[in-house]
């Protein structure tokens, strides 16, 4: 088959994986929040309320799509896609198992992080185009917040790269399968990474973008039906992307400590997805319990605490690597 057909098939497969994971995350949020608060999530439809998901999405598809008439017409239409497409593209670089990865360029980590920095623009465009005051406040907060937390995110992703010696995600996973998981040597950057991931997904305690109580629905105030569905799905797909990134960088991707890569074979995918969903469960528990930071609080947490901490940690880490290399080299 020619190259284009293969690429198209891979893209469709990845789109299916993304929709499945996004929808699964929505369903999981309602179930986890339910059980965390002494109640049950959706249980009426399907075996354990699974069909509830299909009902929600089909209903959103067939709802009337009204939009404010004096809003910026084209930006209003394009904005959901600026939010949806980058988080869909960043799915391509996640190494599900040894062979199962859609695209494996050399700089897959940098490409992924680059794609993850586009949705804030989409959110700002959505907020700005819908011309409602609440949406505009939400949009301005989104841009401010995400920029603040992207830099510590990148810096937190550096130590595993230093250890593995390559920026390719597959290489990092292989490096971890031979030596120990990178969460042990660079624990502080793992914690910083989780905090920044929580912010990128816009979940409490950094719920600035879609602060239900303050901004009613943040940037998605004016969107109805499937446009809102796109952004809602994109936000939960990003849930999975962040968890996948954290797992590949720190928790050894699709490998288990004892077992070699070949013995795992098809089970690698299950191991990887299981780890991701454990992390997603952790994110959702945090979302269900903690209250929200105020805007200026989380700004100075981002600038004044996380940024210096990650910079200092990288310098300390690099120095330690150099010293160990000298000792091992020297002795």
């Amino acid at each position: 088959m020619n190259v284009w057909l293969v690429a198209l098939l891979r893209a469709l497969l990845i789109l299916l994986v993304m929709l499945l994971n996004g929808a699964m995350a929505i369903y999981m949020l309602r179930k986890v929040l339910g059980h965390a608060h002494l109640r049950l999530g959706p249980t009426e439809l399907g075996p354990a309320g699974l069909a509830q998901l299909i009902a929600d999405i089909v209903k959103l598809l067939v709802k009337e799509d009204r939009h404010p008439n004096r809003s910026d017409r084209w930006l209003y239409i394009v904005a959901p896609f600026i939010v949806f497409v980058p988080s869909f593209m960043s799915f391509a670089f996640i190494p599900f198992s040894d062979k199962l990865v859609a695209a494996n360029p050399d700089l897959s980590l940098l490409m992924m992080l680059a794609f993850l920095s586009i949705p804030p623009l989409g959110i700002f465009a959505a907020g700005w185009a819908s011309r409602s005051k609440y949406a505009t406040i939400g949009a301005v907060r989104a841009v401010g917040g995400m920029i603040t937390y992207e830099i510590p995110l990148l810096l937190a992703a550096l130590p595993p790269v230093m250890l593995a010696g390559s920026v390719n995600l597959q290489a990092i996973v292989h490096a971890q399968s031979t030596s120990i998981w990178y969460v042990i040597p660079c624990l502080p950057s793992f914690i910083v990474f989780l905090i920044c991931a929580q912010m990128e997904m816009g979940q409490a305690p950094f719920d600035m973008i879609e602060a239900d109580q303050e901004l009613v629905a943040g940037f998605a105030t004016e969107y109805s039906a499937m446009r809102f569905g796109f952004m809602y799905l994109a936000e939960f797909a990003e849930n999975f992307v962040m968890a996948a990134l954290a797992v590949t960088l720190f928790l050894g991707g699709w490998t288990l400590p004892g077992i070699s890569a070949t013995a795992l074979g098809p089970f690698a995918v299950l191991v990887f997805v299981a780890k991701c969903y454990i992390l997603i469960f952790l994110f959702m528990m945090v979302r269900g319990t903690y209250s929200r930071y105020r805007v200026d609080h989380y700004m100075n947490v981002g600038w004044k605490r996380l940024l210096p901490l990650s910079v200092v940690w990288i310098m300390v880490f690099a120095a330690a690597l150099k010293v160990i290399a000298m000792l091992r080299g020297g002795a």
Binding site: H35, A36, H37, L38, R39, L40, M285, T289, Y290
Partner: protein, 153 residues
């Protein structure tokens, strides 16, 4: 001053305690009463829509004395009756606006003959606007005022 307020500490001690409590709550059994399958058994005094109380032989106890109609602060009860020559009364329609009744129970307290009581059925949602006003008694001969029961004041 009872419990002293905890000082705002620099370390996230409070956040960790909150996480511990959240995980403990995760293990607690859920407290849901799954409505269509399980039902919450109501206490005996719970008040919902007004219902007629019928004597053993099926005739109504209502003597059409209109006390409940006057007591109701929102005019929810409307009795249309016609007294024949021999002083017996025919109740054409004992209309009760169930949808706008505030279910306070004042009419039941005021009724000297114990002819009405507050029911326990709370599944009263309906779709047709006509059902707002229902007739509890239609074309019924009112009971004679002879046997006057002690009403529970």
């Amino acid at each position: 001053m009872t419990k002293p307020a905890p000082k705002l500490s620099r370390w996230p001690g409070g956040l960790l305690r909150a996480a511990r409590i959240a995980l403990r709550n995760l293990r607690r059994p859920n407290v849901v009463i799954q409505y269509p399958k399980q039902r919450y058994e109501q206490p005996e005094r719970s008040r919902w829509a007004v219902e007629q109380v019928f004597a053993e032989d099926g005739t109504t106890k209502c003597t059409a004395c209109r006390i409940c109609e006057q007591t109701c602060p929102d005019f929810c009860i409307e009795i249309d009756l016609e007294t024949r020559e021999d002083k017996t009364k025919i109740i054409h329609s004992w209309a009760y606006e169930r949808a706008t009744c505030m279910m306070c129970g004042l009419c039941v307290e005021a009724c000297p003959f114990g002819a009405i009581r507050m029911g326990h059925d709370y599944e009263l949602a309906h779709r047709e606007p006509e059902l707002k006003r229902i007739e509890l008694l239609v074309e019924v001969e009112a009971a004679g005022p002879r046997k006057k029961e002690a009403s529970d004041a």
